[in-house]
């Protein structure tokens, strides 16, 4: 049995689902950010996979690289926001951060 397109996509979607699950269920904001990273990486797998099995040359790889850079930047900004939230309301529990409702 050769490893084909379907296997990669299954791994990618598993990764995506785990990331999503982490975003929705984790109470800690850091964990939520980690969920986001998982989703981004599942997208990267997809890009590379389609690039490998498709007829696109290396453009998929390039996009995956850009996404990695983007994820690094995002992580930096998001961690800064979390830090600021912690400073202001002394918690990183997302359930307690419901100021958006008002």
């Amino acid at each position: 049995m050769t490893v084909g397109l379907t296997h990669f996509l299954v791994v990618s979607s598993l990764l995506f689902s785990m990331g999503l699950y982490a975003i929705i269920t984790r109470k800690n904001a850091i964990m939520v950010l980690m969920g986001i990273e998982l989703i981004l990486n599942s997208a990267n797998i997809n890009f590379v996979t389609f690039s490998r099995f498709g007829n696109f040359g290396y453009s998929g790889h390039l996009v995956a690289l850009i996404v990695i850079v983007l994820a690094a930047a995002e992580a930096a900004i998001a961690l800064a926001i979390v830090l600021n939230i912690y400073r202001n309301i002394s918690t990183v529990n997302v359930d307690e951060i419901d100021n958006l409702r008002d």
Binding site: I23, I24, V32, D98, D102
Partner: protein
């Protein structure tokens, strides 16, 4: 001298008394001596009037001075032309004479009233009212158009109303004022209709222009008949104002006013306004209209003369005598004795004012006693009043050497001449009977008041001659009852300057076929444009032949009347009471004034009141019913609308609000503010969308 001087002077005379009225009325409450201003004003008015009369006669004796200005103009919707309404003054000799007469009597009455009204609570208002009366009367006299005359006509009515009802605390005075006003209004409706017909036909109110058009053959509705109707309608105004039959009932009641007012307004000047009106419109009267006027005048001369025989109130006798004399003037106009009618108006104004002021003097001295049965013997106590009274009575009876003889004899002569020319012999016969009655009742009045034994010794003892300001007007007016002021020959007034030079001869403008025969112009005499029938040979001959018979007859009846009065009341040769009781019905008929008031009350007044009741019932039931019904319907309709608003419209609005609130309640749950739940929702939605759009 230029004409404009006369015109300016006349406008000055017109408005001066108005100034007096306004100032006296406004200052009267604050300043006690405001009446003096009014008196000064009236003296200036009088002097100006005399100067006007003098300069008119000296410089412009044959010229009619007219001046007018445009009041306003408007578009006639029917014909599409512009109509202009002019106001203006016209001064001919008649105007100038009348102006002086009004001003003189007004001035004397003003001065007289200073004493007579002394102590009255509304002293200053009284003089203010006299001022507005003089203003309105001057307006009637000076105007050159029928519209302005009508306006001042109503103003005169107003001032008359104010003065009759001056003591309005007395119910009788208030009623009398009301009666005078209403009765006058009936006549004025006729006059107003006449004015409208004239304006409709000629598109102008000016006398001169109307006469010019009639001469050119323009007639109302193109018929003689309507010209007659117009003349009679205009004359209706004179019937009201000059107290002619059948509207004479207001004048005797008007005696409720202060006596000087009766002298000024209800004897000498205002009631003469009717005669003056007929004088002004004389040119448009057709033969039929003239005959109508003559008959009305004749009846009005006769009926009050018979009533005056039995009255016991000194002022009532004089009032009926006034109606009778006005009837004479109106009759004279009706039979074409134009000049004598106006002449009688002037002479009558003087001696009747003297008589009224004399009676006022008596009433004043007797402490407001007016019943001649309680008087008597005042001759010795009040010699000046007595002699002026006698002189004026001689004048009104037409005894030679007096002014009354000149004018009254002229009227009787004219009536005889008229009868000879047209065959209406009732005119001279009734004129003579009235002359007889006049002489009788006037001397009955004198004897009962001044001769004999005093009936009320207490009042008699306190009686004395009136003060100077009250006696002076009597002397002036009685002095004017002598012939010397009017003519050098006491037996022929036509030679006098008043008739031959001052009073213009009338010019008849009506179509030839609607005139009396003697008024028609002969073909050969027509050369002169301003031809007057008074100068035609036929009329002159008729007057000539009637002159001596009429004079002798009128003297005879006058002397007989005076003699009879002395026989009955002074020497008591004939017992008046037994005669009265032997002809009881006739006596009562006269005493009760021919039951005119009763008849009017039973017919017109009752009818009017009944009619008003019906109208009131109609108002209360039908009109009010309709109003109430519409109110009821509106009320219930709005009730319905209100409920519709409240339940349906508001219901929809409220329902929307409630629904939104409810929906909000539901949706609110979703907005938790938690990013994770939003995200879950988003994913959930995406999954659903994926299923829908797969």
């Amino acid at each position: 001298m230029h004409e404009s001087v006369i015109i300016n002077l006349s406008v000055f005379i017109l408005f001066l008394p108005l100034l007096g009225f306004i100032v006296t009325l406004l200052l009267g409450k604050k300043i006690k001596s405001a009446y003096l201003f009014e008196n000064i004003i009236i003296v200036i008015t009088f002097l100006s009037s005399v100067y006007l009369l003098y300069s008119k006669l000296a410089n412009f004796r044959t010229i009619k001075i007219t001046s007018e200005f445009e009041w306003f103009s408007f578009n006639n919707f029917i014909t599409g032309t512009m109509l202009t309404i002019n106001l203006g003054v016209m001064i001919d000799n008649i105007t100038a004479i009348m102006l002086s007469v009004v001003a003189l009597i007004s001035m004397l009455v003003h001065l007289y009233s200073i004493e007579y009204m002394k102590g009255d609570a509304k002293y200053n208002s009284y003089f203010a009212y006299l001022g507005i009366f003089t203003f309105s009367m001057n307006g009637i006299v000076l105007t050159n158009n029928i519209l302005m005359m009508y306006m001042f006509w109503e103003l005169v009515g107003l001032s008359s109303y104010l003065l009759i009802g001056f003591w309005f605390e007395k119910k009788s005075a208030a009623d009398a004022g009301k009666k005078a006003f209403i009765v006058n209004r009936i006549g004025d409706i006729g006059m107003f209709a006449g004015v409208l017909i004239l304006f409709f036909t000629y598109q102008t109110f000016s006398f001169d222009n109307i006469f010019k058009s009639i001469s050119l053959g323009v007639l109302p509705f193109n018929s003689d008949f309507w010209l007659t109707v117009t003349g009679i309608l205009l004359f209706c105004g004179a019937i009201g104002k000059s107290a002619q039959f059948p509207l004479h009932v207001w004048l005797p009641d008007a005696m409720e006013g202060p006596t000087p007012v009766s002298a000024l307004i209800h004897a000498a000047t205002m009631v003469a306004a009717g005669v003056y009106l007929v004088v002004r419109i004389f040119g448009l009267l057709t033969a039929d209209a003239m005959l109508f006027i003559g008959v009305i005048g004749m009846i009005s001369a006769f009926i009050p003369a018979t009533i005056a025989l039995t009255q016991n109130d000194i002022k009532k006798v004089l009032a009926y005598s006034t109606v009778s004399q006005l009837g004479y003037m109106i009759m004279a106009l009706g039979i074409g004795a134009f000049q004598f009618a106006f002449f009688h108006l002037v002479t009558h104004a003087f001696f009747k004012a003297a008589l009224f002021l004399g009676s006022g003097s008596v009433i004043h001295v007797m402490h407001h006693e007016q019943d001649i049965r309680n008087m008597g013997g005042l001759k010795k106590k009040m010699p000046l009043t007595y002699w002026t009274f006698v002189l004026s009575s001689l004048a009104i009876s037409g005894i030679p050497l007096t002014s009354g003889f000149l004018s009254k004899d002229g009227i009787i002569t004219s009536s005889l001449a008229f009868a000879n020319l047209t065959g209406h012999y009732l005119f001279p016969i009734l004129s003579l009977i009235v002359a007889f009655l006049t002489a009788f009742y006037m001397f009955r009045l004198i004897i009962k008041t001044f001769h004999g034994e005093p009936k009320d010794s207490h009042k008699f003892q306190h009686a004395h001659e009136s003060p100077f300001l009250m006696v002076m007007p009597l002397i002036v007016l009685a002095g004017l009852s002598f012939f010397v002021w009017y003519t050098p020959n006491p037996f022929d007034s036509e030679q006098g300057w008043v008739l031959s030079k001052w009073i213009e001869k009338p010019i008849v403008h009506t179509p030839e076929n609607s005139r009396f025969d003697f008024m028609k112009t002969n073909a050969d005499e027509e050369t002169e444009q301003n031809f007057s029938y008074l100068e035609s040979e036929t009329y002159k001959e008729a007057m000539q032949s009637a002159h001596y018979p009429a004079m002798i007859l009128s003297e005879l009846v006058a002397v007989l009347g005076i003699l009879l009065a002395f026989l009955v009341h002074h020497w008591k040769k004939i017992n008046a009471d037994s005669i009265a009781s032997s002809i009881k019905p006739v006596y009562n008929f006269s005493l009760n004034k021919w039951y005119f008031d009763e008849i009017y009350h039973k017919t017109f007044v009752t009818f009017t009141i009944g009619f008003s009741r019906i109208l009131a019932w109609f108002d209360a039931k039908v009109i009010d019913g309709i109003v109430n019904a519409s109110a009821f319907i509106t009320k219930h309709f709005s009730f319905f609308i209100g409920n519709f608003d409240k339940y349906i419209i508001d219901g929809i609005v409220n329902f929307t609000a409630y629904f939104n609130g409810f929906a909000g309640l539901l949706v609110r749950r979703i907005q938790t503010g938690k990013v994770q739940s939003y995200l879950a929702l988003v994913i959930f939605s995406i999954v659903i969308l994926l299923f829908i759009f797969k």
